[in-house]
């Protein structure tokens, strides 16, 4: 399947798999924001973008021809329901992570009075 797609040329490949391109763009952007932004809240936003990339990956996979459906045996175009359920769970996990992260950020702000990672480093080496 992959070899056939590779043979069809890069443009074709990107067009038929645009969701996956989107997934890895989101992963890249999320990772970049997490690493490059000194602001703690933006780091958490980057983490959310990273996770969203993975959600898209699963949902896109549910729709693609040639993927196998988990329950039904007959041929036919189905949208597999399982990845949607999985991602609902993963979204819940993501929400709770964000909640804990924001709670911690509030504590850090109350303690040190800053949300910038570099300023935080200076404040903490001082005390």
């Amino acid at each position: 399947m992959i070899d056939a797609a590779l043979a069809a040329g890069p443009v074709e490949l990107l067009a038929t798999r645009s969701y996956y391109v989107g997934t890895f763009l989101l992963l890249g952007i999320g990772a970049y924001v997490m690493i490059a932004s000194p602001n703690l809240v933006k780091k958490v936003i980057g983490m959310n973008i990273f996770q969203t990339g993975i959600f898209l990956f699963f949902i896109a996979a549910a729709y693609v021809d040639g993927a196998q459906s988990p329950v039904l045996e007959q041929a036919g175009p189905y949208v597999s329901p399982l990845p949607h359920v999985l991602i609902l769970t993963a979204i819940v996990v993501g929400v709770s992570l964000t909640a804990v992260a924001l709670g911690l950020i509030v504590r850090i702000y109350n303690e040190y009075g800053t949300l910038e990672a570099d300023v935080l480093q200076e404040v903490r080496t001082d005390d």
Binding site: I2, M34, Q51, I54, F58, A61, A67, L97, A101, R124
Partner: protein, 501 residues
């Protein structure tokens, strides 16, 4: 009683909710309920171990679905040992935490939730269910690290949260690859289907690499360990004892489980890349972790870097992938948990009584706290691998496995790792026993620095019986369990034959 597996997970989860609600009615009810649940969990885990070692593996499909569609819980020799370890260590730390704190029902509710999550990782037979349990364990671990009152613990927890989430997400991405290729999430089914897709397939190899890297982050393998030293050093003493003993251990167990049950040794035989990944992670971790540990001045950070190095050994055993090495990996995984948990608790005990949290403050400690210093030294020597301690036996099996597989450079590094471990522990033992205590003026100064809010339990400064008991039990186990390894290896043999076939 085939219903045992779900109860192992349900008991701590329900107890956690009970603790939370009991806290609304009466405060200070957390510890007794948690202790009761911990005892119950230990009993269930003991029954599970007994059943597995007498009657063989059991499995249970949640919700009464057919196997492969429902979520399956599987208990074999390896997972039963992990469950027993989680139950035993958490009970020990609970004895320590009673006076050492942190106090309050929310703390104990989170504590029990973490135990439920870790047990879940150990018993699950479904890769997505494993992700959910990994995240439950992760979330509660972040919350526990943040349970210190200082800003430092909040910053450590946030760093842990962001890095840990990336790790769990990469694991999920790997599961996504495997799922797309096969349409199943059940480990047993996935293993068969992946073999059909072909181990040479890029899809399967990518799935493994993502899962392995994700769990490397969670286990803190160098250079993906960056969250770990701060998380261990910044959390309250009882919490660092608990998470250093259990959290990374359980994620390393998850890596072993996925590697052996889902990808199988045949995959490693086909895909050199996968074995190279494990080998490189192991070697780099062993060497870099030890070197970083030597250069630390804070005791808890030193112990944290020591964990990075010890998990390198665990990975080395997994990478060698013969029966001897896997026995060594299992033994070292379990014994490391007891030794490292004990060392963190001993460090906390010493800090509570004397305020010593830095390497140089341990000078002459054997005169001030002979028993605590003795327990610390015994645990440290066991970690180095002095016979007849359990630390020696685990390393021996791993090294012997590497020799059997004729991986000579790896065997050399494993043996050298003992010397490296000695390098940072000998430094401490020498200070404790062969140096004069600091002068009175210095000591007063160190007391003053200990009074800063960083030392969470420095308030009374009187270690309790429970704190001593937890440390001593760990030290005694570190020495005596060495004798139990051979029977344990015999019991584990059927499970491993199944996993390695």
């Amino acid at each position: 009683m085939t219903d045992l597996p779900p109860f192992l997970v349900v008991l701590p989860l329900v107890a956690s909710v009970v603790v939370l609600f009991a806290g609304l009615v009466r405060s200070k009810t957390g510890w007794p309920i948690a202790a009761l649940a911990g005892l119950g969990q230990l009993g269930l885990a003991a029954v599970a171990v007994y059943r597995v070692f007498t009657a063989g593996p059991t499995s249970y499909v949640v919700g009464g679905y057919e196997s492969f569609y429902g979520i399956e819980l599987v208990i074999d020799g390896l997972s039963a040992s992990a469950v027993l370890l989680v139950a035993a260590v958490s009970l020990g730390v609970l004895a320590y935490a009673r006076t050492a704190g942190p106090r309050g029902n929310p703390f104990y509710a989170t504590y029990l939730l973490l135990i439920g999550g870790l047990t879940g990782v150990a018993v699950t037979g479904d890769v997505f269910n494993m992700y959910v349990f990994i995240e439950i364990s992760g979330l509660t671990a972040y919350a526990l690290v943040a349970s210190g009152d200082t800003g430092r613990s909040a910053v450590a927890a946030l760093k842990y949260l962001i890095v840990g989430t990336v790790g769990a997400s990469l694991y999920l991405l790997g599961v996504g690859y495997a799922y797309i290729g096969t349409g199943t999430l059940n480990m047993a089914d996935l293993s068969a289907q992946l073999a059909q897709v072909g181990y040479g397939s890029t899809l399967v190899q990518t799935a493994f690499v993502f899962i392995a890297i994700g769990l490397f982050i969670k286990t803190a393998v160098f250079p993906l360990h960056t969250w770990q030293p701060e998380a261990y050093a910044g959390s309250p003493d009882s919490v660092s004892g608990l998470i250093s003993a259990l959290v990374s251990t359980t994620f390393a167990y998850a890596l072993i489980r996925v590697s052996l049950s889902v990808f199988t040794p045949d995959f490693f035989a086909t895909a050199d890349l996968a074995q190279t990944l494990l080998l490189v992670g192991a070697v780099v971790s062993i060497v870099a972790g030890s070197l970083l540990a030597v250069s630390q001045t804070e005791i808890k950070r030193m112990l944290a870097y020591s964990s990075v190095s010890q998990f390198g050994l665990v990975l080395a055993g997994l990478a060698v992938l013969n029966q001897t090495a896997i026995v060594g990996t299992s033994v070292h995984l379990l014994s490391h948990a007891i030794m490292k948990g004990g060392l963190f608790l001993a460090a906390g005990l010493i800090a509570t009584a004397t305020g010593a949290r830095e390497v140089h403050e341990y000078e002459g400690l054997s005169e001030r706290m002979p028993y605590a210093a003795g327990a610390f030294a015994v645990l440290a020597l066991s970690m180095v691998g002095v016979p007849p301690t359990v630390g020696f036996v685990g390393k021996w099996y791993i090294a012997f496995g590497a020799v059997q597989a004729q991986l000579w450079p790896l065997a050399a590094i494993i043996l050298a790792s003992t010397l490296l471990t000695l390098a940072y522990f000998a430094r401490l033992v020498e200070r404790m026993y062969f140096r004069e205590p600091a002068t009175m003026a210095d000591r007063a100064e160190s007391e003053a620095t200990a009074a800063q809010p960083d030392a969470v339990v420095a308030d009374g400064g009187r270690p309790s019986v429970g704190m001593y008991a937890a440390v001593f039990v760990a030290a005694v186990l570190a020495v005596t369990l060495g004798a139990a390894v051979v029977p344990f290896a015999e019991q584990l043999a059927p499970t491993l034959e199944l996993l390695l076939s």
